[in-house]
Symmetry: none
C-alpha cells in the first residue's frame, strides 16, 4: 500500500529506506517505533515518509507484508529443493527447518513479525496483523488434513488441536536454540552480522529431535 511515489524511487534509495524502517520496527513495537528516528537515521526529510506512505500504520503494514512475502519466497524455494513429495513428517521437518533458518538469518524480519504478533488485537497495529495471523495456521491445518488422508496422522484427535500443537512446536525451536546456546536474537541485532553460535548441523539435529517428539510423543516407550 505504499504510494506510487515510493515505488518510483530509485531502488537503492527504496531499499535503504526499507532497511532503516525494518531496523526501527524490529526493535520497537508499533507505538514505540518512531518515524522521526527513521528519517533522522536516513538523513531525509520527515515529510518524505508521508509522500511514500499514507501514515505510520500504512508503512507498518507494508513492512509486515514484505517480511511475510520474502519469507514465503524463501520457504517455497527451500521446499522446491526437496523434489518429490515425501512423507508428512519429512515435509514438516523441512518446513520447520526452513522457517527457523530464515528467522535466524533475518532477525530484522522475524523480530518485526514477533513484535507484530504481540500487538494487542483491536489496536491500530493489531488490526493490520490479525489477518496475517491465521495464514500459517490455515496452512498447517491443510497439511494435517493431508497427513490424515494419507493415513500418516492419527485421526482420533481434533485436527485443529493437532495443527495448533504442530504450530506451537515450530515456534519453540527458536527459543530452544537461544536457551541451549546461550545467545539472544534480539541482542544480535545491534552487532554487525555476528554469526550464529551453532552450525547448520546443530539446527538440523534440534529439528529432527523435535519432529521425533511430535511423532512418537514424550512418553518412554514400552511402558
Amino acid at each position: 500500500m505504499p504510494k506510487e511515489t515510493f515505488l518510483n524511487l530509485a531502488e537503492a534509495k527504496r531499499e535503504s529506506f526499507l532497511e532503516a524502517a525494518f531496523h526501527e520496527f524490529a526493535r520497537n513495537e508499533y507505538r514505540a517505533a518512531s518515524v522521526s528516528r527513521i528519517v533522522a537515521k536516513l538523513g531525509i526529510a520527515k515529510g518524505s515518509v508521508y509522500q511514500y506512505f499514507a501514515d505510520k500504520k500504512d508503512l507498518y503494514a507494508y513492512l509486515l507484508e514484505l517480511a511475510a512475502t520474502r519469507k514465503q519466497a524463501w520457504m517455497v524455494k527451500k521446499q522446491g529443493a526437496s523434489s518429490a513429495t515425501p512423507s508428512f513428517f519429512a515435509r514438516h521437518r523441512n518446513l520447520i527447518l526452513a522457517s527457523v533458518d530464515f528467522d535466524l538469518r533475518n532477525p530484522n524480519y522475524s523480530l518485526l513479525m514477533v513484535n507484530a504478533m504481540k500487538e494487542s488485537p483491536g489496536t491500530e497495529a493489531g488490526l493490520v496483523v490479525s489477518s496475517i495471523g491465521h495464514l500459517t495456521l490455515d496452512f498447517l491445518r491443510a497439511l494435517v488434513q493431508e497427513g490424515r488422508s494419507t493415513g500418516e496422522l492419527r485421526d482420533d484427535i481434533d485436527e485443529l488441536l493437532v495443527a495448533q500443537l504442530v504450530n506451537a512446536a515450530s515456534l519453540s525451536v527458536g527459543s530452544y536454540m537461544e536457551a541451549k546456546y546461550g545467545f539472544s536474537i534480539v541482542e544480535r541485532l545491534g552487532k554487525a552480522e555476528a554469526s550464529l553460535p551453532f552450525g547448520d548441523k546443530d539446527l538440523e539435529k534440534a529439528v529432527d529431535e523435535l519432529v521425533e517428539l511430535l511423532q512418537h510423543g514424550i512418553r518412554k516407550p514400552g511402558r
Copy 2:
C-alpha cells in the same frame, strides 16, 4: 512497591483502582498504556496515582507481581486438590488445566502477563519483566527431570527441548479454544463478565487430548 498511601486506601477504592489499571495494561503494552486514561476512567485526579505509586513503572511492576501472585495462589489451590502425587502426565494435565482455566477466567491478569512477556528486553518495562520470564520454563524443566528419573519420560532427547515443547503445548490451548469456539479473549475484556462459550468439560477434554498427543505423538500408531 506501592506507597503506604495506596495500601491504606479503603479496600473498595483500592480494588477499583487496580481493576482500572489492569484493564489499561491488559489492553496496551507498557508504552501505549496511559496513566491519563486510567484516572479519566476512575474520575480521580491525576496526582493521586503518584501518591499511590512512585511512577508508571512502579505501578506496572506492582500489577505484574499481583497477577503472578494471584495466579500462583490459584495454581497451588488447584494442585492441592489432587491429593497424592500421581504420574507425571496426570500432574502435567492438571497443571495445564489449572493454568488455562485461570487465564480464561481472568483475562485481565493473563493478558497483562502476555503483554509483559512481549516487552522488548532492554526497555524500562522489559527489565521489570525479564526476571519473571524464565520462571515457568525452569519449573517445567524440573518437572521433566523428575519425569525422567521415574522413567515415565523418554530420556533420549534433550531435556530442554522437551520442556520447551511441553511449554509451547500448554500455551497453545488458549488459542485452540478461541479458534474452536470462535470467540476472542481480548474482546471479552470489555464486556461485563460474559460467560465462556464452552463448559468445564469441554476444556478438560481439550487438555486431555493435548496430553494424549504429547504422550504418544501425532503419528498414527501401527505404521
Copy 3:
C-alpha cells in the same frame, strides 16, 4: 507571621522544624525549595505545615526574618564586646569581621539570605526580600555619615557611593576566602559540621587587609 499553632509547639519540635526548613531553603531557591521534602525529612504530615504557616511564602518570610534577627543579635553582641566607640575604621573592621564570621559559621542562615537576595524583585519571594535589602545599606550609610562628621572619611565623594563601595567590599570577603582556601560554603552544607580550612587569625588578616585597601586605596603610594 507563623500561626499560633506553631508558636505553641514544644520547643524541640519547633526547632527541628526550623532546622529542616532552613536546610531546604538554604540549598534551593524559593521556587525549587519543596515543602514536600521538608515534611518527608521530618516525618510529619504535610498538612501540619499549613497549620503552622499560612503558606510556603509565609514560612519563607519567617525564616528570612529569623535569620536576619539572629544575625543582628550576633552582631550586637560582638559589637558590644568592643567597648568604647573607636575610630570609624576600627568599627568597620569589627563589623565586617563579625558579619563574615557569622556567615561562615551559619551557612544555613547566610545561604538562605544569599538565595533570598537572588530572588527576582517582583516575584512572590522577591517582595518578601526587598524590604530587608536596604537595611544593611542604610546602616552603612549612617556609619559613613558619622565617619564624615568626625572627619575620618573624605567628603568630596558622594556619600552613597562610598557606602555602596564599603558594602560591596564586605560582601567580597566570603568569596575571597573561598577562592584563597579552595573550598565552597555551599558544599560544606552537606557535610556534618566540617570545620573551616582556616583559622580565626587568617580571617582577621584578610579583613584587616581589606580595610587597609579601603582606607588608602589600591594605588602604590609615592607615585
Copy 4:
C-alpha cells in the same frame, strides 16, 4: 547549540523568539522560567521550541552564550576606541564604564547573567553557568598582576583580594545609579525602551569617583 531549524529561521522570527526568551529568563531564574509562557507570549506552538532547541537547558545555554558574546563584542569595540595602552587606572575606568553602560542599556542581557550567576552550583543550570563564572575574576586578576608589574598597584596586599575588591566595586556601580536616581533596572524591563534617568556624563562621573576611591581610599587625606 540550537538546532539547524532555529538557525534557518527568518531573522525576524528568530529575533522575536530570542527576545521573548530573554524576557522570560531575565525575569525568572532557570527553574521558574517557563517554556510555556514563552510560547504563549509568541503565540506559537509548544513543539516549535523543541524543534529549535534540544531542551530548556539547551535554550538557556544559548541565551547565556549570546548575552556573553554580545557583551564581549561591545566591550572590545569600546576598548578599541581608547587607542594607546594607558595607565591601569585609565583602563580600569574604561572597563567599568563600558560594562555598566552595556548592562544599563541591555537589561535583558545583564539580568539574565545576573540570574545565571545565582544558579546554585550543582543544579542543572548551575553547571551550565559555572564555566563562565570565573572568567571575569580571572581577567581582573591578570589586570591586577599587570598593574603590579608596572608599579602602579601596591604589592603588599594579596593580589587575589585586590582583584576581588576591584570586581566588587565594578558591580556596585549599577545599584548605585539605581539608588541615586531612584529607578529600577528590573522594572524598566517591561517598558518599551524607556530612557535612563541620567546622561552619559552622570555615569562617567560616578565611575570616575569610584575609581578615585579605589585609587586613594576612602580615608580623608592628611590625617
